[in-house]
């Protein structure tokens, strides 16, 4: 379980939860981003924020702060995996 804000560019996975109380998430749901859907972090803006995500055949930009509470289950077959933090 990784917040969308911590995904690496190119990583994708299933949306496990978002917060319907927030207007950002409401907008995303209207665009078809619903739990269970696969989304991919396409890239970050040159200054690191906002993010461009792809889902349901469209690319949408949203801010880092707004991506923190959107939780992704990174796909096991995703070639890009975050290196484990060294102990």
């Amino acid at each position: 379980m990784t917040p969308l804000s911590q995904l690496l560019p190119g990583q994708y996975g299933k949306l496990t939860s978002l917060n319907p109380e927030r207007s950002v998430d409401q907008r995303l749901m209207a665009l078809g981003l619903l739990p269970g859907m696969v989304l991919k972090l396409v890239r970050k803006a040159p200054l690191g924020d906002p993010l461009a995500i792809e889902f349901a055949g469209q690319v949408v930009s949203l801010r880092l702060t707004e991506a923190q509470t959107i939780i992704i289950d990174v796909a096991a077959d995703c070639p890009i995996q975050r290196p484990r933090p060294q102990a």
């Binding site: 409401q26 907008r27 995303l28 749901m29 665009l31 803006a45 040159p46 906002p50 461009a52 801010r63």
Partner: protein
């Protein structure tokens, strides 16, 4: 028969980036009327559309939107328009829903919500050519059948294909009045909706529409309750109980609507679309370059530089033609009115000058909107906002604030007009408020005069450039904190989430681009133009009257043997001195005294309200150099250097001390001495409130900073 006589209206709705405007232009053939919905800054576009059989309907182009959740003013207008709650518009007789054929599922969500409005629907699957290129095959007959038999039309508005079929479908929808079947809600959700409907009916005495009930139940904040007159305590109790019921059905009440609609649509679309692979492929490849970490900003800077150069430099040529034409007209008309000096001055300086005053803005507006339209229609504007957002988000603005602010460095008018591209009303207002702080080209002559007359000769060209650059930064320095405070503490408008679609790249259609340039220019002329004209006439009258011929006779009698142009300049100066403007300037001079301004500068400041650069020629008149003085006039510079205080505590010292010229420049950098800007702000913010606040705030700030600079520098020096 006209559309109005038959009274049939059809609304055009759809997601942004579906080619809706192109379709609207194709259907109405540019016979359009543009206005604003009262009270909100949402444009209302309508036009006449022929249904192919001679029937004409009024087609209303509603703002593009993704859902009916009524979170933004745009969404509010659409839901009010479609449910017949706009004071000036009847409920439409049918709705044309424009859909991007390459992304049916996402686009059909809005259509599915609209099915609750119980209106005949025509579904237009636009951009069919792109869908075909992507290998998509859409079975429109099956889709129509599943949607209860509503007309479903494939079009490519860009190529002009399928337009006739849309016309016929509108006619058919108006005759057969086939509705889209409404969603089948799970039984507990249906019960919850019925509870809300019953609650409304019990409290306000009439049954609400289905769509209204859904907004009340599903939206966290909705103004529908307010509109219905359903009071808060009762409303909250009923809605809370109904939402508990939705929870028992297993849904989060705020997520139930998209979940249920999308579930419905997924089933509905089974077998409708075949084929298709990578839908974002082509644009993704372009984005590899245009959004690249290094290349992206480089290309962005190049495009913006080109746009700025065009607005700043290229516009100068047509502006010169316009001012040349205005001057020629003045010269041509003046002799016709010889012997009637008052009328002559009114017509040439007041009226022709007034028309020239707003015509002068047209080249910049047209050129900026050429760029803005191309950037928006191509899909690059969203990318530009994506690149720039980080720099603006912290102070409450967003990436789309960049283009208006940048244009502000050329001229605030097109800058303010281009804030229309910002969807979020809060960021839009804050950006429009910040734009006049950008150092526009009309401030340039003021800086240039001061630098050429004083800074250069006294401190050398190096300091001249330092001051020039510094003055261009002063406004920015104050604009950013202003925007921060405004968005954080002052504006009570709900901010919109910055969720921005990065649409597919597309070739802009020249007709749409040109049409948009024209519409913006025409609106500016008809709305702000009249105000600018009026301001010019008023300032002319204040500077002309009263005109006592004795003043002139006295000067002419005492200056025998003096060169005639010198006498003329003295006469003009004397007339201005005893005009209302001169008297007013003298009486308010004490206010500007702490900034180091004498009455002549004060008059210059006041008389430059129609346009900032006018202060240069006003100083020319008040310092008896003659009319038409420009920043590079050596004579004016010389006279100003020699000018000394003739009374008061500073008598005998130069008026234009370092402290005074810096204070004057800072004042001009920050003040709102620009009637056209104030008029445009009023036009774009839907009333005089924000224009007045901006004027008072900027003037007060300018005065304060001028006082600080004058007092500080004169003590140091």
């Amino acid at each position: 028969m006209s559309a109005a006589e038959q009274g049939l209206t059809v609304a055009l709705v759809g997601n942004p980036n579906t080619g809706k405007s192109t379709l609207f232009n194709a259907l109405t053939g540019l016979r359009q009327r543009v206005g604003n919905y009262p009270g909100v800054t949402v444009a209302r576009k309508s036009g006449q559309c022929d249904c192919g059989d001679g029937t004409k309907v009024e087609l209303i182009d509603l703002p593009g939107l993704y859902s009916l959740s009524a979170a933004s003013p745009d969404e509010q207008v659409v839901i009010d328009a479609l449910s017949g709650h706009l004071a000036e518009d009847r409920r439409p007789d049918a709705v044309v829903v424009v859909i991007d054929a390459t992304n049916l599922l996402r686009n059909l969500f809005l259509a599915s919500q609209l099915s609750e409005l119980d209106l005949p629907v025509v579904l237009v699957l636009n951009q069919a050519d792109v869908a075909t290129e992507q290998g998509l095959k859409i079975n429109t007959e099956l889709l129509s059948r599943r949607l209860g038999g509503i007309p479903v039309v494939l079009t490519s508005a860009w190529k002009g294909e399928g337009i006739a079929a849309v016309r016929r479908a509108i006619g058919e929808a108006l005759r057969a009045r086939v509705r889209m079947p409404a969603v089948e809600w799970p039984s507990l959700v249906a019960e919850a909706l019925a509870d809300v409907a019953a609650g409304v009916a019990a409290d306000i005495g009439r049954a609400p529409g289905r769509a209204d009930v859904e907004r009340l139940l599903f939206d966290s904040t909705s103004s529908v309750g307010q509109r219905l007159g359903w009071a808060a305590p009762r409303r909250d109790v009923v809605i809370r109980a109904a939402r508990d019921k939705v929870r028992r059905a297993g849904y989060n009440p705020l997520a139930a609507e998209p979940l249920i609609h999308y579930e419905r649509l997924r089933k509905l679309l089974e077998g409708v679309v075949q084929g298709g692979g990578n839908r974002t492929g082509g644009s993704a490849a372009v984005d590899q370059v245009l959004l690249h970490r290094v290349l992206g900003p480089v290309v962005f800077a190049g495009i913006m530089l080109g746009m700025f150069a065009a607005v700043f430099w290229l516009a100068k040529f047509p502006m010169q033609w316009i001012s040349g034409g205005v001057d020629a007209l003045k010269l041509g008309v003046a002799p016709l009115l010889d012997g009637m000096p008052m009328l002559q001055s009114l017509v040439t300086d007041g009226m022709i000058g007034g028309v020239g005053a707003f015509l002068a803005f047209l080249p910049q507006i047209l050129i900026l909107f050429l760029f803005v339209s191309i950037l928006e229609d191509s899909g690059y504007m969203a990318r530009a906002a994506f690149i720039m957002d980080r720099l603006f988000s912290w102070c409450g603005l967003n990436g789309k604030s960049f283009v208006p602010l940048l244009s502000g460095f050329a001229c605030a008018i097109p800058g303010i007009l281009s804030t229309r591209t910002i969807e979020d009303p809060k960021a839009r207002l804050a950006t429009a408020f910040a734009v006049p702080f950008m150092s526009c080209s009309a401030r340039f002559p003021v800086y240039a005069l001061m630098c050429a007359a004083f800074i250069g000769p006294l401190y050398g060209p190096g300091w001249e450039s330092v001051v020039m650059v510094g003055m261009h930064c002063v406004g920015l320095l104050f604009a950013v904190p202003t925007a921060f405070v405004l968005t954080r503490f002052v504006l009570k408008v709900k901010p919109q989430p910055f969720v921005l679609e990065l649409p597919r790249y597309q070739m802009p259609k020249p007709r749409d681009v040109l049409w948009r340039m024209w519409q913006n220019a025409a609106e500016f002329v008809s709305r702000a133009g009249t105000v600018i004209f009026a301001i010019t006439i008023i300032v002319w009258a204040l500077s002309y009257f009263p005109r006592d011929p004795a003043v002139e006779q006295r000067i002419r009698a005492t200056s025998v043997g003096v060169a005639p142009e010198v006498v003329d300049a003295q006469v003009q100066s004397a007339y201005v001195e005893q005009s209302w403007m001169g008297r007013f300037g003298k009486s308010v001079q004490p206010i500007f005294d702490p900034c180091g301004f004498d009455w002549k500068i004060t008059v210059g400041v006041l008389a430059s309200f129609p346009a900032r650069e006018v202060i240069v020629s006003t100083l020319g008149v008040t310092y008896s150099v003659g009319e038409g003085a420009e920043a590079d006039s050596k004579h004016l510079q010389q006279v100003m250097r020699a000018a000394k205080w003739t009374e008061g505590p500073r008598v005998g010292t130069p008026i234009f001390s370092l402290a005074a010229i810096l204070a004057l420049m800072v004042f001009f950098a920050l003040c709102s001495q620009c009637g056209p800007t104030v008029a445009t702000l009023a036009q774009e913010t839907g009333g005089w409130k924000w224009a007045a606040i901006s004027f008072v705030y900027m003037t007060a700030l300018a005065w304060l900073m001028a006082v600080a600079v004058y007092q500080g520098v004169s003590r140091l020096a």
